[in-house]
Symmetry: C2
Subunit: 252 residues, 2 copies
């Protein structure tokens, strides 16, 4: 099946090589700004255009930012019965059904950045289709890209996306605080890295609740007090809030 990809953001950067690896033909990389499309298109020798009317692929994958999906989808003509997909975690399928009878979602549950290419083969793909036929096509596409494919409704996908914010964005905030405390003390963040890695690695086998340790869980008041003394006021507040949340969760 022939595919066009709209957008040249972080998702497109990892999705395009995955599609090529799975032997799909990419007709066009599409976007407003040709200059921005050029690097990715050249890298994989793909045609690129800013003219939505040229798109006649069987599948069109919209990878633009959440807020732009609706506008972009309205630019696509429905004449050729294209299957139109978006790749966003928190955008309902309804956004596409307005303009396209044949549509769906291919949401790769991962954090993407242009500096770190992601192997889609191990990324969980959450799929949704406007009908049985569409779902079958999307399932086939997804299974050619990744070993982990799950059918997920728009509402479930929104829940997954909020859970993802906790385990990724908010987790990274905790790393940021750790880095700031090290910096403020004139110490190298580097020596925290093995701990960060092992903390993540632990929950690959255990549940997070089984993996929880530390002074908050033990209600080790002496250590909690020492940490409070050591931190500046802004961090003390955050430390105590997070400690209270742990104790609330475990009914300490």
């Amino acid at each position: 099946m022939s595919i066009s990809v709209i957008g040249n953001g972080n998702v497109a950067f990892s999705l395009i090589p995955a599609l090529i690896k799975a032997n799909y033909t990419i007709d066009f990389l599409v976007g407003r700004n040709l200059e921005h499309l050029q690097p990715l298109a050249s890298q994989y020798d793909i045609s690129f255009t800013n003219d939505y009317n040229l798109i006649e692929s069987e599948i069109v994958i919209i990878t633009v930012s959440d807020n732009a999906i609706e506008t972009v989808s309205s630019h696509l003509t429905a004449k050729s019965n294209k299957l139109v997909l978006h790749t966003a975690g928190s955008v309902s399928l309804d956004i596409l059904t307005k303009n396209h009878s044949s549509c769906g979602v291919l949401y790769p549950l991962q954090t993407f950045s242009k500096t770190r290419p992601i192997d889609i083969g191990t990324v969980p793909l959450c799929i949704e289709g406007s009908g049985k036929t569409e779902l079958a096509i999307i399932q086939n596409l997804a299974q050619n890209l990744s070993s982990s494919v799950t059918q997920i409704s728009s509402s479930e996908r929104l829940s997954i996306h909020t859970a993802a914010v906790f385990v990724s964005n908010f987790t990274n905030l905790m790393y940021t605080y750790g880095a700031k405390i090290m910096e403020d003390t004139g110490l190298d963040f580097n020596i925290l890295r093995p701990l960060i890695q092992e903390t993540a690695q632990k929950v690959m086998q255990l549940s997070p609740a089984e993996a929880q340790t530390g002074p908050a869980l033990r209600n080790d008041t002496n250590t909690l007090m020492l940490h409070n003394k050591q931190l500046n006021e802004a961090f003390t507040k955050k430390y105590n809030t997070l400690t209270a949340w742990i104790q609330e969760f475990y009914n300490k």
Copy 2:
């Protein structure tokens, strides 16, 4: 040099095989409860005792819980000029200098659990000594165990330990919340695991500030609103607090 280890907790479980691998002789595994010592001692064919007076090793490593270190160290007679070390992140060296002229700290900066043996060889060891001679001995010991050894004062170590609470205990709380949201939606936590791993992996190269992404950072009010609607009241509060913290950090 001959070594005795006091305590049979999580640190001892990873430290003892590391000492043996580095060709140290372990005279005794020491603790109050012989039954509790037996499994670890048998596994490595080490003598074990509950009689502190039998300890005549050149180095004694106290691996008991923070609150018990002072009491345990007071049980050790100083007659044989033993070098007494503890392995705790938030306990000052002063606790040992009260009873021992020759003492120090060997703090392995990692999360230990009996179910996951840790290779000490890659664990950052933070060392401190009561004097130059002691520090030289501890440095030698540490370098035989790990490729990452740093001299750290008691005050710096306490800062590192608070930073460690953020990147490990509080990070794991974020995983717990992710798991709870998935459970509440009837979804499998498993599909979040690759994201958790990549989020940690990202900051092995980037700084956490460089790695930050998400709706809070972008101040994507539409997505923030959708997440608020999807979460229950308890989680909404936490979500909004953490979002505000990200926006505070990046001056959004």
